[in-house]
């Protein structure tokens, strides 16, 4: 009786595993899409164009893999897309800071000129 019960449980788990993996792929893809959609495309193109293109490429690959039922590949590509999205986000911040540095330097030069004039 116990053996029969264990067999049923194992069979159920084996049947449920693919469905669970498909759900994970779907969730990962959705999170990556949401993260990438939140990026400002203009800032992204200016501050990290290569990384932004990489993000779009990996996201498309994740969608394609998910459509083909290649769940593991879809998860990996989604993870890669999400990571690049995060890189883009940080580079946008870095670019803004570097722009601030340039502006302050320009301001200082102007002040120095006024000081000596």
């Amino acid at each position: 009786m116990n053996k029969i019960f264990a067999a049923v449980l194992l069979g159920g788990a084996l049947l449920a595993a693919p469905a669970a993996f498909a759900d994970e792929a779907r969730d990962t893809l959705l999170k990556a899409e949401a993260q990438i959609e939140a990026l400002d495309s203009a800032d992204a193109a200016m501050a990290a164009s290569v990384d932004y293109q990489e993000t779009q490429l990996r996201l498309q690959e994740a969608r394609d893999a998910e459509a083909k039922g290649h769940d593991e590949e879809s998860v990996w590509r989604s993870q890669e897309a999400a990571l690049h999205g995060e890189i883009v986000q940080e580079k946008i911040k870095l670019h803004a800071l570097e722009r601030t540095v340039t502006e302050i330097k320009t301001g200082i030069e102007t002040l120095r000129r006024e000081l000596v004039s």
């Binding site: 990384d51 993870q79 690049h84 940080e90 580079k91 800071l97 302050i104 330097k105 200082i108």
Partner: protein, 295 residues
């Protein structure tokens, strides 16, 4: 048989060699580059401070990548190295942010210092301008004061002169007066002298009394006495006569207490007529003594 054994051994050795090569492939240049990049990131304090978690994940991912590469698990390798490279890039971006923020803080401090210097300079310039303006104002006021003083002095002198002239006219109302270049001049045409002499008659002395009074009241005043004759007679005689008559007036005034140093007596003879010598009236006008109160 021996040949077969040799061939088999050679094949076996080659197979083993190939198997050895297959089990330990050289790392790909991409993997080596990613690992070097990770090492460089770990050596950068800002990247370590801001991207510690990302560097740890990068280390794990690149170790996986190396393992999968050695195992020839291409799909796993590609995913792992992409993640490893990505985490290193993420850590570097965050380290870069920290450096930029530090630079911004330093630049803001520098800018604040320059602004402070600029304000100090502006204050100094404003103070200098104020001092200049005050100095200019003081100079202008001094000039105005000087001008006022000059004007006051001028007015005082004018008033003094007017008062003196008024006093002269009042004191010397008995005489015919005219203003000459030297000062106020009295023309005495009615002084009586003995004929052809310079001796004043008693009437003439009375005629000079107001002048003597005036000179006593005005101890600073000096006079010039000029004698004139008509054209009758010798020129030299007339010149001498006019000189003596002028001196006679001065001598009389000295007898009334006037200091001789205040009196200048000269004779002009017939050289300065005021009327024609062809008539009696003209000659009478020309015989005269003029006393000028010197300014």
């Amino acid at each position: 048989m021996a040949h077969y054994l040799k061939t088999t051994a050679a094949i076996a050795a080659l197979t083993m060699a190939l198997a050895g090569c297959a089990s330990a492939p050289e790392p790909s240049s991409r993997l080596l580059t990613a690992e070097q990049s990770l090492m460089a990131a770990r050596a950068d304090p800002a990247t370590v401070q801001m991207g510690r978690t990302s560097l740890e994940k990068a280390g794990v991912a690149l170790a996986d990548a190396r393992e999968h590469y050695m195992d020839r698990d291409e799909d796993d390798y590609i995913h792992a190295i992409r993640m490893g490279e990505g985490y290193v890039a993420l850590a570097k971006a965050r380290g870069g942010q920290m450096k930029a923020e530090a630079e911004i803080a330093a630049l803001n401090a520098e800018r604040a210092e320059i602004v402070s210097e600029t304000r100090k300079l502006e204050v100094a310039r404003a103070e200098a301008a104020t001092l200049d303006a005050q100095s200019e104002t003081a100079s202008a006021e001094a000039r105005a004061d000087q001008s006022d003083a000059s004007a006051a002095t001028s007015r005082a002198l004018t008033a003094q002169a007017e008062a003196r002239e008024k006093a002269l006219r009042e004191e010397l109302a008995d005489y015919e007066l005219k203003q000459s270049a030297l000062g106020m001049t009295m023309i005495l045409q009615d002084l009586q002298y003995a004929t052809n002499s310079a001796v004043l008659t008693a009437g003439a002395q009375g005629r000079l009394a107001p002048l003597a009074n005036f000179l006593r009241k005005q101890p600073e005043a000096r006079i010039q006495v000029v004698g004139h004759t008509d054209a009758q007679g010798d020129d030299a005689f007339n010149q001498d006569l006019s000189q003596r008559r002028a001196a006679s007036v001065g001598a009389y005034l000295v007898t009334t207490g006037i200091d001789a140093s205040r009196i200048e007596a000269i004779g002009k003879g017939e050289s300065s007529p005021v009327a024609s010598n062809d008539t009696v009236a003209g000659r009478t006008a020309n015989r005269r003594v003029e006393v000028t109160i010197l300014d």
